[in-house]
Symmetry: C2
Subunit: 224 residues, 2 copies
């Protein structure tokens, strides 16, 4: 009698496509980030700063998700990198198929870095793997320092925490150290950055770390 491993995971349709995406990215040596946060935590702004810092050294492609509007892709496209919008209609998250379809006409290998800006939502995107290397969670100063405790599935799903808008500290009752502690209580091995896209605080550390990740994934970038 053959033994069947009951623990064997039955993969959802999304997981299957996410795995295929991940394989394609790995083959191409493309590093892929999936940015998640509340609406208004500064995802688009952080991507703009990231693009400005890295576009001369790396080939970057940005995918932005939103219910409606092309605002974010337009904002990012102004910096001279390719940016496309995915309108999710009523869906509160991107899924692996949407990302796959946006990449069908493009070869993943044409890019060193793909940044996916998910729909602003602290619940739904936690459950949908897109095939990214890392999920980056943004929490803004002033949003409520207990946000990581209130949305633990999203914290557990993310490898990196970027605390944004540190420039607002003097005007709010918010303390980035408390946000960090709350997140690390749920996921102790998170990599944490404290940044302000307005003053530039902490962006150098974020960019340096990104460069090291890019080098680890593909030692020699294509772009001169």
């Amino acid at each position: 009698m053959k033994k069947v491993d009951l623990r064997q995971k039955v993969l959802s349709e999304n997981e299957k496509i996410a795995i295929a995406n991940r394989e394609r990215f790995a083959e191409a040596g493309t590093f892929v980030l999936n940015l998640v946060s509340s609406p208004g935590s500064g995802k688009t702004r952080l991507i703009e700063e990231t693009v400005k810092a890295l576009k001369d050294d790396y080939r970057i492609f940005v995918v932005t998700g939103d219910l409606m509007t092309e605002n974010d892709a337009e904002r990012i496209g102004r910096h001279g990198v390719e940016a496309v919008q995915i309108s999710t209609g009523e869906a509160c998250h991107l899924d692996a198929r949407m990302v796959d379809e946006k990449l069908l006409k493009r070869k993943a290998s044409a890019y060193d870095l793909i940044v996916i800006e998910n729909v602003g939502n602290l619940v739904c995107p936690a459950s949908f793997d897109l095939g990214e290397d890392l999920k980056v969670l943004l929490v803004a100063v002033g949003e409520g320092d207990d946000k990581p405790v209130k949305y633990p599935p999203m914290v557990r799903a993310s490898e990196v925490l970027v605390i944004t808008k540190t420039d607002l500290m003097p005007y709010t009752d918010s303390d980035p150290d408390v946000i960090e502690e709350n997140a690390l209580r749920i996921k102790p091995d998170m990599t944490v950055f404290k940044t302000s896209s307005k003053t530039g605080e902490g962006l150098e550390q974020w960019i340096d770390w990104l460069r090291s990740q890019l080098t680890a994934k593909k030692p020699k970038p294509h772009k001169p």
Copy 2:
């Protein structure tokens, strides 16, 4: 042959319960608000200010929804009103049944005002009627003035817009008038308030309006 009206709406389970909730509230003369926003827009804080201003004149009950933690109900309970938490687990919204169950043991008629704080989310709560009188959408200064344009279903579902954190105006590139314009483009008849729970700006208008709504629903409150 009998004519069947194909436009007749088939009610979902949630809609049926929401209608029952609404009937119960109407019979009791209880005014019910459903507060929706991004995580961190200041729903709990606005409820605290509202409770402080009205608790001597009205019997208030607060229901707060969150994935985890009882933080919000505890915060509000400190002001001497009844507050209960609904933990939604992984669900990104409250539904009519959850509200119904939290009220089963309490008679709606025991309260003049019920404030429901929904899960922080600009997508999911738009689709779930709880039986409230009005949905109140909060958008904070600094969250991105284009939020109403990016989340039109939530704007369309809401009768009232409270722009919060106006004290942060000098430190952000945000303009409450632009938030208002963006919302009114989608839903021209919204009632709009511009408030800061920190400085107190605009709270008097919000409270006065609430009093007028309470009086309209039940001319003589029970509380002395």
